[in-house]
Amino acid sequence: MTLAPRLVEVRKNVLKANDVVAHALRQRFGDSGVFVVSLVSSPGAGKTAFLEKTLTLLRRNYRVATLVGDLATENDAERLARSQTPVRQIVTGTLCHLEAAMVEKALGDWDLRSLDFLFVENVGNLVCPSSYDLGENLRMVLISVTEGEDKPLKYPTIFNSSDVAVVTKMDLAEAVEFDFATVHRNIQSVRPGMRIMCVSSKTGEGMASYLDFLGATLKEFRESRVATVDRAG
C-alpha cells in the first residue's frame, strides 16, 4: 500500500544562516563605531584602483582598513597594501561571492574600535553578491564608463540591493562617448532616488565630494548610534 505524501508547512529562509551572521556582524560594527562599506561591481570596473585611491586619501583624516575577496590571487591585497593601511585577504577559491561567515572569519578577534571605516571588496560579479547580506552599513555598486549604459537594466537586482552608485574611469568618458544621462535614467529606474557619484581614480576627479559624502555618512552613523543608546538607556 502506498500512502499519498503529506504536505508539511515549513517556512524557512534558505539564507537564514547567512542572515544570522550578517545581523551579528552589523551589531558588532555598530557597537565598535566602525562604518562598513562594501563594494560590488563587474570584473574590471576599477574596484581595486578606486579603493586604493580612497584609502590613500582617507587615511589622512580617518583610521581605515580593508577586507578584500579574490578568487585565487593575492594581487588585490598587495595593491591595496600600497596605501599603507591594514588589508586582510579573503581567498574565496571558486566561490563567486562573499558570504557573511567569510567576513566574520577574516575579522577574527580584530578590535574594530580602532577603526573609522572598514571597506569590504567583494568578488567582481554583478549577480551572486546581491543575495548575500554581509552586515555592511553601505553597499556601493561601481559601474565604469567603458561598460555600457544599460548595465543597470541588465543587472537590476545588484543595483537595487545597493545604496549608492559610483561611476568610475571618468577620465575615459569622452573617449568612449559615455552618456551619463542614460546611465542616470537607468539607475533611477531600478533604484529610484539612488545617489550617484562620478569619479576617476586616475585623475582624482570627483574624489573630494565622494570623500565628503563618506565623512558625512560616518558622522550621521555615529550620531544615530548615540541616539539609539540614549533611547535604550
Partner: protein, 115 residues
C-alpha cells in the same frame, strides 16, 4: 553561479526537517522572489546535483515565482511590478523603492512520503 550553494542549503534544510518529521522528502516547495538574485533554471539543475547521494535523491523542487510588490506612497496601496527594471507604480507612475515582497528564497513546505 551561486545557485549550487543555494541548492545545497535547501537540501540540508529539507534533510533536517525530514529527520525531525520522520519520512522521506518527495518534494520541496520553494518561494522564489524576482529580486532574489537566483536564476530558476540554474537552481533546478543545481538542485538535482545537490540531491545526489542524499536521501532527497529523486525528489522534486517545486518553485512558486513571487513577483515584486512595492508600496506606492501616492496611491497608498501595495502594487505589483510588471518588471524589475522599472521601480515605479504601475498605476500612477510614481517612482518607489519601498519593497514589500520579492526578495524571498524560502522553503515553504515539504511533501513527505512514508519510508
Amino acid at each position: 553561479m551561486h545557485e549550487l550553494s543555494i541548492a545545497i542549503n535547501i537540501v540540508e534544510m529539507a534533510e533536517e526537517e525530514a529527520e525531525r518529521l520522520g519520512g522521506k522528502v518527495e518534494a520541496v516547495h520553494l518561494k522564489l522572489g524576482a529580486l532574489s538574485g537566483v536564476v530558476k533554471d540554474a537552481l533546478f539543475a543545481s538542485y538535482e546535483m545537490a540531491c545526489e547521494g542524499t536521501q532527497l535523491a529523486g525528489s522534486k523542487l517545486v518553485v512558486e515565482d513571487i513577483p515584486v510588490q512595492v508600496f506606492c506612497s501616492v496611491c497608498r496601496e501595495t502594487r505589483t511590478l510588471a518588471t524589475i527594471q522599472h521601480f515605479c507604480c504601475p498605476d500612477c507612475a510614481t517612482p518607489t523603492s519601498e519593497i514589500v515582497q520579492g526578495k524571498e528564497i524560502q522553503v515553504v513546505a515539504l511533501e513527505i512520503g512514508s519510508q
